[in-house]
C-alpha cells in the first residue's frame, strides 16, 4: 500500500525512496521529483544557459528515472545516478543545439544576443547590479568548454564533492581536480574586474 507524500520527509534517504518506487510506490517517485527538480534545473540551466531547454532536459531526466527505475542499484548514490542522467542529456542537448546552429545560418549569434549587455540593461532602473553580474558570470560560464563548464557547475554551484563529481562524469578524481582548477583560473581571469568590484 503506497504511503501518502507527506510521510516522505527529509529523514528518508533518496535510496530508500527509489527502493520504494521500484516496489511500485508512486508517492515515492513524486517525493523524488520534488526533492530533485530544482537542483537539477539549476545544474542544467547553468550548463545550457537557457531555462526552457533546461526544463525540457529535467523533464526527460525524470521520465528516464521512471522508465529505468529498475536499472538503479543501491551500490551507487541515487544523487550520482540522477545527476549522471541529467548531465548526459544536457550534453546531448548541447550537441544537438550546436548541430542546429551549424546548419542554420539565421541562428548564428543568437546565444551571444541572449546575454548581450545593452546600455539599457546597464541602467540601474532596470537591472540591479546583482542581476547584471549574474548575467556576465553566466555568459562566461557558457564560454567555457563543456568539460570545464560541467565540473565547475557541479563543484562550485551545486557544491558537490570532488568524489561525487568524479563519479557523475566518470573521470578520475585527479582529472576532476585539475579541470576545476583550470576552469577557475580561466573564469577568474575573464571576470577579474567584476570580481574586484564585488569584493
Amino acid at each position: 500500500m503506497p504511503e501518502p507524500l507527506q510521510k516522505f520527509d527529509k529523514s528518508i534517504s533518496d535510496e530508500d525512496l527509489i527502493e520504494k518506487f521500484q516496489r511500485g510506490d508512486l508517492y515515492a517517485y513524486d517525493a523524488i521529483v520534488k526533492r530533485y527538480k530544482d537542483q537539477l534545473l539549476n545544474f542544467v540551466f547553468r550548463f545550457l544557459g537557457n531555462q526552457e531547454e533546461a526544463e525540457d532536459v529535467v523533464q526527460e531526466t525524470f521520465l528516464r528515472v521512471y522508465r529505468k527505475r529498475h536499472a538503479y542499484q543501491r551500490v551507487a548514490k541515487f544523487s550520482t545516478w540522477i545527476y549522471t542522467i541529467a548531465g548526459n542529456l544536457a550534453r546531448t542537448e548541447l550537441r544537438r543545439r550546436n548541430r542546429r546552429r551549424f546548419f542554420s545560418l539565421s541562428s548564428l549569434g543568437v546565444e551571444d544576443k541572449e546575454y548581450e549587455i545593452s546600455d539599457e540593461m546597464l541602467s540601474p532602473e532596470r537591472h540591479t547590479n546583482t542581476v547584471l553580474s549574474e548575467e556576465i558570470i553566466q555568459k562566461e560560464i557558457n564560454r567555457l568548454s563543456p568539460k570545464f563548464r560541467e565540473v565547475i557547475i557541479l563543484r562550485d554551484i551545486q557544491e558537490l564533492s570532488y568524489e561525487e563529481v568524479s563519479k557523475i562524469i566518470r573521470v578520475p578524481i585527479g582529472t576532476v581536480k585539475s579541470r576545476v582548477n583550470r576552469a577557475r583560473l580561466r573564469l577568474q581571469g575573464r571576470l577579474k574586474h567584476l570580481l574586484e568590484k564585488n569584493k
Binding site: D30, V33, K34, K37, D38, L41, N42, F45, R46, Q51, E55, V58, Q59, F62, L63, Y66, R67, T130, S133, E134, I137, I152, D156, I157, E159, K177, S178, V180, N181, R184, L185, L187, Q188, G189, L191, K192, L195, E196, N198, K199
Partner: protein
C-alpha cells in the same frame, strides 16, 4: 616563473582549504612575494564565493503536471497494442513501415514480371502490348511490337492468318513484321504460334 606555474596548480586546493599544512605554508610564502599569484589566488577565492551566491531558479508551476502527462502518454505508448503486437516507438514504426512498403513494391514488381513472362509466348524482355481494334480494321504490320489480339476484334477474313480454323474467342499472339523490310501495304499479321488454337 616556473615556480608560479607549480603554485598556480595549488590555487584551487588553496581556495577549497584542502591543502596540506606544509604545502599551504609554502604557497603562503610565495603569495607574499609574487603579486600576480596573489591576485590570482584572491580572484579564485572570490570567484568561488560569487558562484555559490548565484541565485537559483525554480521549475515552472506546471512542471509536475506536464511530467505526469508525459509519463501517462509514455506508459500508454508502451502498452497499447497494434494488431495484437506491442507498440513500437514512432521512429521505429516509420522505419518498419518504409521497409515493408519497399518490400511490397519489390514483390509486386517481381510478381508482375514473372506473371507476364509466364503468360507471354514471347521471350522475356520483349514488350507486349494490347490494343483495341475495331472490326474490319487493317492490322498494323509496321509495328515492331508484338501485339495481342482477341479473335472477336479481328476480321474473319484474317483468321487464317492467325492460324485459326474454328470460331473462338481465345487470345492469339500476333506480331507485325519488321516495317523496314516491308513496303507492302497489304493487311497481314504473321502468326507467332504455329499451332492452331484449339477450343
Amino acid at each position: 616563473m616556473k615556480n608560479c606555474e607549480r603554485f598556480t596548480e595549488l590555487l584551487s586546493d588553496y581556495a577549497d582549504n584542502t591543502l596540506a599544512p606544509s604545502a599551504k605554508r609554502e604557497l603562503d610564502g610565495h603569495l607574499q612575494e609574487c603579486p600576480e599569484c596573489h591576485s590570482a589566488a584572491d580572484g579564485v577565492i572570490n570567484l568561488r564565493h560569487n558562484l555559490r551566491r548565484l541565485s537559483t531558479i525554480q521549475t515552472s508551476p506546471d512542471f509536475e503536471t506536464i511530467l505526469r502527462t508525459r509519463i501517462k502518454l509514455d506508459r500508454r505508448a508502451h502498452v497499447a497494442p497494434i494488431w495484437g503486437m506491442p507498440f513500437v516507438f514512432p521512429r521505429r514504426l516509420a522505419t518498419y513501415s518504409a521497409t515493408a512498403a519497399l518490400a511490397a513494391l519489390c514483390f509486386f514488381y517481381l510478381w508482375q514480371r514473372l506473371s507476364a513472362n509466364a503468360l507471354s509466348p514471347f521471350p522475356a524482355g520483349i514488350a507486349v502490348s494490347q490494343m483495341q481494334i475495331t472490326p474490319n480494321q487493317i492490322l498494323p504490320e509496321v509495328s515492331p511490337a508484338k501485339i495481342l489480339y482477341t479473335l472477336d476484334q479481328v476480321t474473319p477474313q484474317l483468321w487464317p492468318n492467325f492460324g485459326v480454323t474454328r470460331k473462338g474467342t481465345e487470345r492469339l499472339a500476333s506480331t507485325a513484321t519488321d516495317s523496314a523490310n516491308t513496303a507492302d501495304s497489304t493487311p497481314s499479321a504473321r502468326v507467332v504460334s504455329p499451332r492452331p488454337v484449339t477450343f
